[in-house]
Every structure is written in structure tokens, then in C-alpha cells.
Symmetry: C2
Subunit: 113 residues, 2 copies
Amino acid sequence: MVKVRRNKVEQPPEVCPLGECMSLISGAWSPHVIWYLRDGPRRFSELRGDIKGVSAKVLTARLRQLERDGVVIRREVDSSPPTVEYSLSELGAELRPAIAAIVDVGHRLKQRR
Amino acid sequence: MVKVRRNKVEQPPEVCPLGECMSLISGAWSPHVIWYLRDGPRRFSELRGDIKGVSAKVLTARLRQLERDGVVIRREVDSSPPTVEYSLSELGAELRPAIAAIVDVGHRLKQRR
DNA sequence: CCGAGCGGTTACCTGCAGGTAACCCGAATA
DNA sequence: TATTCGGGTTACCTGCAGGTAACCGCTCGG
């Protein structure tokens, strides 16, 4: 019967950063968007095809939010027919390694299942 | 007036891994739990103190889910008074770099704001 | 004996992310 | 002329994560 450790919290590491960043990639689909934009711009309907199971409404909502947060950039292309091109901003590019790390764990998860 | 690119989706990268892993760390508080367990076991009320703003109910729920998913390990310690110790499983440890990457981006986010 | 701390549980309520389905305009194609 | 495609918008509905508050049994310290 050992006495309970009543240890102090060492260095409360001020982890607001976690919430800060999580708010950018929270929402079921945001990480997918960032992931599929990792190698360059993509059009709306390309993303719809890439990300299986997402509806137009939700994809629009996520893209708008990511745009407001400064993660992706929306560019209307004056082509025929007019199209819209989404790409990662500088900030969005910084998120790539984080998403990549998550994908990496996901891979190993599948491997062992 | 340029014709629209009708490019094919190159290498549909089979990104179920993303959803796979996101399901482990989704929920506002799961990443925090993993983060605060990164350096070793912690007791329930230590975690409550670490993670500012989380209620007992929600913390319990997240811990139970993470336990079911095999991410954390719950251990009742026969001390006096009895306490409960949570730690990362091997799988949980694999999530550390992903969380660290997110925290890292969060830091740079705060820096520039 | 009283109160506090530990590790929760239970009941109740709320918001909002997400799903479905229908509809929109303009340009290009058949 | 009618249909398709691109890029959405709108209305409506649902589930569940999360918040609040009260309560619980046990043990320890004063």
C-alpha cells in the first residue's frame, strides 16, 4: 500500500497551441482538403471526386472556412467554362507535415489491422 | 480565354488512412490527452488540471474512448487513497509525432498573430 | 465529527457539423 | 432545342459531442 503521489504539474506547457491549430483542421473534411491540395491547385469538382463521400454543400462550407482562416486560396479562373481553383496558402503549406504525420499513422494502423 | 483543364485524378492516393487516424484523435479533447501523457503516466485529476476547461464528464468520456481504441491504458493503483493512472499504449505513442506536428504549427500560429 | 479530495456517474439541455434533396445560372456540346 | 457540366446555394432534418449541475462512496487530515 503505497502513499499516493501528490506531484505538482511540472511546467504547465501552455498548450493553447494545440487548440489553436486543431481549430484549423477540425471538422471531418478539412484534413482531406489540405491533403489533396498538397501537390498543387485543384478545382472544386476534382476535390469532390478526390474526397469520397463529401457533399457539395459540406465541401463548400469547409473550403470557405479554410479560406477565412487563411489556409487555402480561392482563385476564379477565366477559362471556358469558368472554373475555380483552390490551393494552399503559405500557412496551409505549414500544415502539410502535420497532416502527413496523421496519414502516416493511419497507414500503420491499416497495416496491423 | 483558356480551355478548361480536364485533367485526370493522378494516383487516387487511397486516403482512408486519414479518416482512420482522425477518428482516433477527433473530438476536441483527445489530442490534449495524448499530448499531456507524452512524457509518462498521469492521474485523472492531474489531467483535469492540465487540460484547462475540460469537465470531468467529458474527460471521462474521452479517456474511455481512447482506451477502447487502444490508445491509452487505464491502471488502477492500489495506493491510499486508490488512484487511477493513465498512460499511452504503444499505439498511442505512435500518435505522438502527429500531435507534436500539430502543436508545432500552433506555436508558429501564435508567433505570427 | 467535518470537510476536502479522488474518481467518477447521472440527468438534462444545446449547438452545430453533417447528410439529403432540390434548385440555380451560364456556357458548351449534341 | 435539350442536355450536361461547373460551381455552387437553399431548406430541412438529425445525431451526438460537449456544457452544467447535482450527487456518490471512500479515505484522510484536522
